[in-house]
């Protein structure tokens, strides 16, 4: 939904993408255009021009090789793991299907290098399109990237990746690869916006670690923006304005100022304890996916990592990660955090990521299919590699592990059996690990709620994964736009389930925390606290906001309020009650922005409620 308004011949365009790194910036666009190289198609007349053309192609290819080797050498250590992609690129350049086919086309068909190259790429693309395996089929993107690089060299363009700017700019790109970001003059970059990508795309991670705003998934932004266009980028809401009107600029300058004030106030707050007015301490932890996020999480006041997602190493393709790769990663997180805890969640992926057989079977309902702990128990070798890595890392800090998607006791017992085998292996190998490592389970399947009292006897802690719990309990696929509005964290059924889990944990004397989005939203966090939760884990940037909430409420009052909330019969009533409560806190002179993000993120709910 893009709105367009006139302004003295110039048009303001509004685009909405995925907000991946918060903050507001107003600045000039700099297009990093890797794809738009004009291609001329020419026949070559003389024999001499044919051999010259082949030479021209080889020079462009050699230049491309040198560029890639140079990037490889320049790659910062934290992204060195991506360098394998560059090796593949080098190999593609020497491949018969690529190199020989292009040169043959120049010599035999007497066509120019660009045309010949495009023909080879077209041929390769056609061959790859017939491959069933999705991962292999998509490797053709590597071929296209190599071709683009050579086309750019043929056009005599300077390598755009070595970017230097005289002013600070907003980078606008189709996508940003590790090679691009490692070569950009980072100090001059105000933010990133890209056509493609998601929350875990490279641009997103880099922006978060640099603490600059970024919006990805804007689809067509590179077509709409020209170099030098004025842009407003709101990395909190995901909005981007191209050629904004004066009013809008003033409005956003104001917002920017507010955001900065809020940030600085929050940062000051972040080292104060998360203590309620009546003296109860709440433990706030961060949910993260990358080692690089640990420092930012600590800066924002996280007292540990309550959810360390481990899927990344399995998704970056190519091959399964080795035990040592995983161990190195986990060990570093543990060491940086020690003595604060890190809770490592074991692999939470669908089996289709691993086996072409499963991918072919196209599980009709992947959320209910072979995934997470089910997959790990079916593929114990994959599971054991990860368990060994986690156990070995436990010798270097406060490492805990938790298992996703547990639906009943059998899965816990089977998992523990495998864990015992791995421990015995480590003993035989004389490797150090924490024999008393704490193990817990995610409570995210409704059946686990029903038998929480049984499960509690076998684990050290529960972590309630509200995102999946809501999805499974309400039978709502959040991604399905037709029912997404029914995804209701405030549904009385959800609140009762959470209450039941807390009770089971307390009766058995084990810890219970919440690590879903409900933990990071002030409205729902308020209810969780009132239900008796004392440990919340959330996206790092939500921590200051929730800490702010905790510091402005009394737990005694919250418990009284929540007793009333538990009597309400619809999600709308629950939400309105909590909303009114938080608003009244604001008016009492608390932090003004307490519920800002909450209103924004729960838009479908809010609309229903009004």
């Amino acid at each position: 939904m893009n709105e367009v308004t006139e302004k003295q011949g110039e048009i303001t365009t509004r685009l909405k993408g995925i907000a991946v790194s918060p903050g507001i910036i107003i600045g000039k666009a700099r297009l990093v255009d890797r794809s738009r190289v004009k291609i001329l198609y020419q026949y070559l007349i003389s024999e001499e021009s044919v051999s010259k053309e082949a030479e021209r192609f080889k020079r462009a290819l050699e230049a491309a090789k040198e560029q890639i080797i140079a990037y490889k050498n320049r790659m910062p250590d934290q992204i060195k793991q991506h360098s394998f992609i560059l090796d593949t690129h080098l190999m593609i350049m020497e491949d018969t299907m690529f190199l020989n086919a292009t040169i043959d086309a120049i010599l035999n068909e007497k066509i120019n290098a660009e045309w010949a190259l495009m023909k080879s790429v077209q041929h390769i693309r056609q061959l790859f399109s017939q491959i069933d395996d999705e991962y292999l089929r998509e490797r053709v993107a590597d071929v296209e990237q190599v071709a683009e690089r050579i086309l750019r060299n043929l056009a005599g363009r300077k390598d755009e990746n070595t970017l230097h700017f005289s002013d600070r700019v907003i980078i606008v790109a189709h996508e940003l690869s590790p090679a691009d970001t490692s070569a950009i003059d980072i100090g001059k970059v105000m933010g990133f916006i890209t056509d493609v990508g998601g929350r875990t795309s490279h641009a997103a991670i880099i922006a978060q670690s640099l603490k600059i705003p970024a919006v990805v998934g804007l689809e067509t932004v590179t077509n709409r923006v020209q170099d030098g266009n004025l842009l407003i980028v709101d990395g909190t809401s995901g909005e981007v304005f191209i050629n904004p009107e004066d009013d809008l600029i003033i409005q956003y300058q104001e917002k920017q100022l507010q955001h900065e004030l809020y940030e600085s106030r929050i940062i000051r707050l972040s080292h104060l304890p998360a203590e309620s007015l009546d003296g109860q301490l709440i433990e706030l932890r961060a949910n993260i996916e990358f080692l690089e996020e640990v420092t930012a999480a600590k800066d924002l006041g996280a007292e540990g990592i309550g959810l360390y997602r481990t899927e990344y190493h399995y998704l970056r393709g190519l091959a399964l990660p080795t035990e040592n790769e995983l161990f190195e990663d986990y060990r570093q997180v543990a060491e940086i955090l020690s003595p604060a805890p890190v809770v490592i969640r074991t692999l939470d992926l669908g089996g289709d990521r691993f086996s072409p057989d499963l991918a072919h079977a196209k599980q009709a309902n992947p959320a209910l299919g072979l995934r997470a702990i089910r997959f790990c128990l079916k593929e114990p070798e994959v599971f054991k590699t990860q368990l060994r890595a986690i156990l070995r890392a436990s010798a270097f800090g406060n490492v805990q592990m938790m298992f996703p998607m547990i639906s009943g006791l059998t899965e816990i017992l089977d998992t523990k059996e495998i864990l015992a085998e791995v421990m015995a292996d480590l003993d035989r190998a004389g490797m150090a690990y924490n024999r008393n490592i704490e193990t817990g389970v995610m409570i995210e399947v409704p059946s686990a709620v029903a038998v929480a009292d049984i499960l509690a006897k076998h684990v050290d802690f529960f972590s309630i994964g509200t995102n999946d719990l809501i999805q499974y309990a309400l039978a709502i696929d959040r991604i399905n736009e037709h029912v997404a509005f029914m995804y209701q964290p405030f549904h009385p059924a959800i609140l009762r389930m959470i209450r039941q889990v807390i009770k089971a944990a307390k009766d058995a004397g084990i810890r219970v925390s919440v690590c879903g989005e409900m933990a990071g939203d002030p409205l729902s966090a308020f209810i969780l606290l009132g239900l008796g939760i004392t440990n919340l884990s959330m996206a790092p940037w939500s921590i200051p906001m929730v800490k702010n909430l905790i510091r402005s409420i009394s737990m005694k009052e919250a418990r009284t309020d929540v007793r009333r909330i538990m009597q309400l019969d619809t999600a709308t009533k629950v939400r309105n009650f909590a909303y009114a409560k938080i608003e009244s806190l604001n008016q009492d002179g608390g932090e003004k922005d307490l519920s800002v993000r909450s209103r924004r993120e729960n838009r479908p709910l809010a609309r229903k409620g009004r």
Partner: protein, 88 residues
């Protein structure tokens, strides 16, 4: 000299990019030529793209054919690479 041998892909992810890259790199150290055949379809072992288009999941049996003066050495090296599951 020509040496022919059937080998099975044993690593979990099948013949993926990293394995294909190892094959190409190893084959490049010998003077003999190497061919991979699956279902009557034969490609050169020196081409990473061709190897990928063979699309071999775990358990696939491929026929390797080495032609040249050091064909036997090349085949021995390839057999070892397969047995080590491409070092994974």
């Amino acid at each position: 000299m020509e040496v022919v041998r059937n080998l099975r892909i044993q690593n979990d992810l099948g013949l993926h990019a990293r394995c294909a890259a190892r094959i190409v790199a190893l084959a490049g150290q010998f003077r003999s030529k190497l061919y991979f055949k699956k279902d009557e379809h034969e490609v050169e072992g020196s081409s990473i793209l061709s190897l990928l288009t063979l699309a071999c999941p775990k358990g696939t049996e491929v026929q390797l054919r080495a032609v040249g003066e050091d064909a036997d050495l090349l085949m021995e090296a390839m057999t070892r690479l397969f047995e080590q599951r491409f070092g994974e």
